[in-house]
């Protein structure tokens, strides 16, 4: 499942995963996951139904689902957990699915691409695919909430001391940098004007203090909070941070020797020039 809002992320996935030996299959009939916040707030049973329909399609094909987005994995994993746990919800969802000759059974597994890489492929496969190690590039990782929590459903990592993204970035040759607000929520799911901005600004200040060259993440919704978010903050609060926000598969693409345009970095509002220069220099050395 791909995040639709940011085609550059899909591009980065399509360019980098084949280098790790992954064959991508585009599935007919999928809808959006659906989103784990707004449609769920409207009607949870309908939200479960749409998610279950997607899972039923994967089940029919005997495929597991790989998502590139923290929101998609959150929705699909929670839907699976809920339907497997709550027979009433499952009966209602399957009553609806029966009308289109589909059934949710619960046989397909769901994972984010970073989990597939860590657990199935192994980080050595990442290291072997690197042509231009990102030596000297420091990355402040933003985990984002939905890939980690609740850990009893997500089964991805320790929600308080995660390492999966740090290890992924390190395998590319870059240096993950800790900062105080590494695990703070980006605030996007909060339906308020001010609160999300205060939260993102707290994170920017923390990253600025860490001195990292860029921010690295795997969630498109967080990306929007931080890339567009920096423009909003400089407009509303008069403070400019200029921290490039890079989707980790774009970073992987750069390390695999792709040009910035080939992973769509030119589409970002905060330009990554400083990081790109650093990569060029370390390639020369």
């Amino acid at each position: 499942m791909m995040p639709l809002k940011y085609p550059q992320m899909e591009l980065a996935i399509r360019k980098t995963l084949p280098n790790l030996g992954v064959e991508l299959v585009d599935v007919d009939g999928f809808t959006c996951c659906p989103d784990p916040i707004y449609f769920k707030a409207r009607d949870k049973i309908k939200w479960l139904t749409i998610a279950a329909r997607n899972l039923a399609i994967a089940e029919e094909m005997g495929l597991d689902v790989i998502t590139m987005c923290s929101g998609c994995i959150s929705t699909l994993k929670e839907a699976k957990y809920t339907l497997d746990e709550d027979p009433e919800a499952k009966a209602e969802v399957n009553r609806r699915l029966k009308k289109i000759n589909k059934e949710y059974r619960g046989t397909a597994q769901i994972n984010h691409a970073v989990v597939l890489i860590r657990d199935t492929l192994g980080l050595d496969v990442v290291k072997k695919s690197i042509k231009r190690p990102l030596d000297g590039v420091t990355v402040a990782i933003h985990y984002g909430c939905h890939i980690l929590k609740p850990s009893q459903i997500m089964h991805v990592d320790d929600a308080d001391y995660p390492s999966i993204l740090d290890d992924f970035v390190a395998a590319m040759g870059a240096t993950p940098l800790d900062h105080r607000e590494k695990l703070l929520c980006c605030g996007k799911g909060c339906m308020d004007e001010e609160l999300p901005l205060e939260m993102t600004e707290t994170i920017f200040a923390s990253i600025e203090e860490s001195g990292a060259d860029c921010m690295g993440l795997v969630c498109p919704t967080c990306f929007s909070s931080f890339d567009l978010g920096q423009i909003l903050i400089s407009r509303k609060k008069g403070k400019t941070y200029n921290i490039p926000v890079i989707y980790l598969f774009q970073l992987l693409g750069l390390a695999q020797g792709l040009e910035p345009e080939q992973v769509g970095l030119h589409t970002h509002r905060i330009k990554a020039d400083k990081v790109l220069e650093k990569i060029k220099e370390s390639a020369k050395a």
Binding site: D28, D35, P36, R42, I50, G189, M191, L195
Partner: protein, 166 residues
């Protein structure tokens, strides 16, 4: 000093019990572990998950699912779910409360906008011409057609979010 009687609206709680995720509100013993990890509570006093659960236990329907309810300030981060020792899953209770607010047509107008696309088109975000152009420019394959008829069948009744929503 005369003690004020505490009234509990059990009918509201029974209604909440029937909504997926709502039943777990019964397990809350008000320990505040959720507050300690809640980012919304960190940034505003208007939002406090323990207080929301207390009001839920008391059955305060209007305070929770009326137009001025604080539930919409939840950031949906799942930290409370992670931390709660009672398996209350506060965020899921809050989502059940949101579902009730929608049924009462008391949800914020912005929710209608943010949630209508998926039922209409099968995708959560609007596929703008800018997105389509960018896909072309980046050499990405065109988007697959989504069987909207199937979606309409399984969603059955269209539901409005606010009074003004169609």
């Amino acid at each position: 000093m005369a003690k004020e009687k505490i009234k509990v609206d059990f009918r509201f709680r029974e209604k909440l019990n029937k909504i997926q995720g709502g039943k777990h509100h019964n397990y809350c013993y008000q320990c505040s572990a959720c507050v300690a990890v809640c980012p919304a509570a960190r940034f505003t006093e208007e939002f406090n998950p323990r207080v929301i659960l207390l009001k839920t236990l008391l059955g305060m329907e209007e305070a929770l699912t009326g137009e001025d309810s604080p539930i919409w300030l939840c950031t949906n981060c799942y930290s409370c779910y992670e931390r709660c020792p009672q398996d209350v899953r506060p965020i899921e209770v809050i989502i059940a409360l949101k579902n009730m607010a929608v049924q009462r047509q008391k949800a914020p107008a912005s929710l209608a906008k943010l949630s209508e696309n998926i039922a209409q088109t099968g995708v959560s975000v609007t596929v703008t011409s800018a997105v389509s152009r960018r896909r072309q420019e980046l050499g990405l394959p065109p988007l697959k057609t989504i069987p909207i008829d199937e979606l309409k069948e399984i969603l059955e009744d269209p539901q409005s979010v606010t009074k003004d929503d169609k």
